[in-house]
Assembly symmetry: C2
Homo-oligomer: 408 residues x 2
Amino acid sequence: MDLERSPLALPFPAIPPIPGVTLRVARARYKEWDRCDLTYVELAEGTTVAGVFTRNVCCSSEVELGREQARFGKARALVVNAGNSNAFTGYRGREAVEQIMAQVAGHLGCAPSEVFVCSTGVIGVPLPKDKAREGIGAALEAPACSWKEAATTIGTTDTFAKGALAKAVVGGRTVTIAGIIKGSGMIAPDMATMLGYVFTDAAVEAHFLQFCLGKANESTFSCITVDSDTSTSDTVLAFATGKAGNAPLASFDDAGADAFAAALHDVCRQLALLVVRDGEGAQKLIEVRVTGAETDDSARRIGLAVANSPLVKTAIAGEDANWGRVVMAVGKAGEPADRDCLSIGFGGVWAAKQGLPLADYDEAPVAAHLRGREIDIEVDLGLGEGRAIVWTCDLTHGYIAINADYRS
Amino acid sequence: MDLERSPLALPFPAIPPIPGVTLRVARARYKEWDRCDLTYVELAEGTTVAGVFTRNVCCSSEVELGREQARFGKARALVVNAGNSNAFTGYRGREAVEQIMAQVAGHLGCAPSEVFVCSTGVIGVPLPKDKAREGIGAALEAPACSWKEAATTIGTTDTFAKGALAKAVVGGRTVTIAGIIKGSGMIAPDMATMLGYVFTDAAVEAHFLQFCLGKANESTFSCITVDSDTSTSDTVLAFATGKAGNAPLASFDDAGADAFAAALHDVCRQLALLVVRDGEGAQKLIEVRVTGAETDDSARRIGLAVANSPLVKTAIAGEDANWGRVVMAVGKAGEPADRDCLSIGFGGVWAAKQGLPLADYDEAPVAAHLRGREIDIEVDLGLGEGRAIVWTCDLTHGYIAINADYRS
């Protein structure tokens, strides 16, 4: 099926080259298609790495191995296969990943553990080793390509290429942080997977990079949802080549560490939002702002309950200021909430305060807000200081069409 | 909007009168419609009662009061209002419920706490007291009506009337257990609510009735899901009039207690399944059978994760044997699971065993099974003895049409 470009798409940003990062793409032909589907990223010696991975316990071999490799903190290459997730393929799937690691390590003269592999696409079919071998061979000889080409090649049913950029001044030097991501369109029987990669020329020690990435993840990738379904392959990796020449960042005591962490967070947030903007069938981007919860984590859970509610998502699709459904979703979240302290609003206008509909509630500005592309839902629990922002998209006929109408 | 009768509908059963239970319906005109919308059930003196209620913390006054009243274990009447859920209406909503309780208690000469009130429909609008008063007045003078009329009158966007029947022999006497239920169609901004009522002429002490209902609930009402959204008003009440003349059941040591509990469970299961059969947009009834989990509760959570997955539900809607999506849903449930012990099947045919697709998997019988109305998904965790069955329906364009395309 051909998917139309999401109406929420953003243009691909002008990302400059990042010293120490070389991008190449090739055709491995994992599926019967005429497009590049293997992305190879070569990283300078000394590159540090950090990663966050799916919590799905039925994860792929790529995720199992990547999680172990990230602990060592060193990376020389990244390979991304599109069209086959290699998930639920047992020992044969693992062999394919290990073959790729060995092939690239042999070429670069590095340890196999420094070669990261991710795959996305059909589940239950072992990644074909011969196609992978030839694809890697072609990629190693391919000319360097652009960020947009790499962002396109890691995609599967994405309707637009997704990239983000930020800069920070670290120890007097300007460092660049750039990222690309894929997700979350889908064609049956493919499983939508979020794969995100962040690259920087900053010098950052691996443990601190891991700390910053983990922290950024909490309020970005962990705060988005399209349909509440968690892929077996979700992975975000951050690579720091150190080519900017700053003194390596090891903690927040180092000059520029705050600026670096903020810029990394910014890139992660941009990437996360791009995934929601390409959510299956999405017509509207929804931001759920939760305040007054007992804790930030409680606020996040309540936000996700609202963002995952099919009844809330269909109400927004129908441009219906149905705050009753928001009340319901807050109440089912399993978090502390008091009906008589609860306030609900849309686009900055309160519809209900402290457990009662507002007598002077004017639905006209809310109706106008709901006709737009970017919708804000405000939830105030009235209990404490906990707050969170969660992003999702509406639930439309497009979602059903993508996931039910077309067969594999 | 006019909703078509669900293709999964079952005919209303021939439920005989139950001694001690009198049904009446009236027009309270809670909405602009020409139908009965107030159901009044009079119960003989000595009737015991038990209840299970929504866990949604933003519950209605009806639920708050009903939960307190059920602890006393005595009932003389039930009033069900359709068209207005009276949820999120603060003190004014509570006043309306207390007025109904007082009016009926005055008529019957009983305590207000013996009058149970439930409401379903639009949220955030206090139940109009004048309409309720006149409706109750009319109901008290109305002729007795049939089970089907009562089942129709408690409904809102239900596409068919739902009832269930079972019998048991208790202490040499045959007792009847009958139930009616409403759920879970919806018109914006109404919130689908499950209201279920079970009536028996058996004599059952309230604490034992509560035990049996709670136990039945665990594997019936708590094992169904349409869209993962929990109403603020969900209520199931069981009433035992004692008119069958058996020695009151007080524990499983009493003769016939097992038979009674089994029949009650049977009625609850029938009613729960009828709600799924009328799920918004449902075209297929899905039974998820989970075995081999560490515990029964873990099995139930895994079953609900599968049943609530939009990707699984759309795959079934598309008649696609997409077992990869089932793997994903099992993995995200947050319960113990081992990818390499996991087996997935459809309609009795295994597609994957112990973490690997079956080499000789024949999709033909599975494809035929998926073209039917009743779909079985089997999940074996391969870890322990825990098992559960969960029911849901597929996710179709009809769901979006009901919840997004039509405005309030």
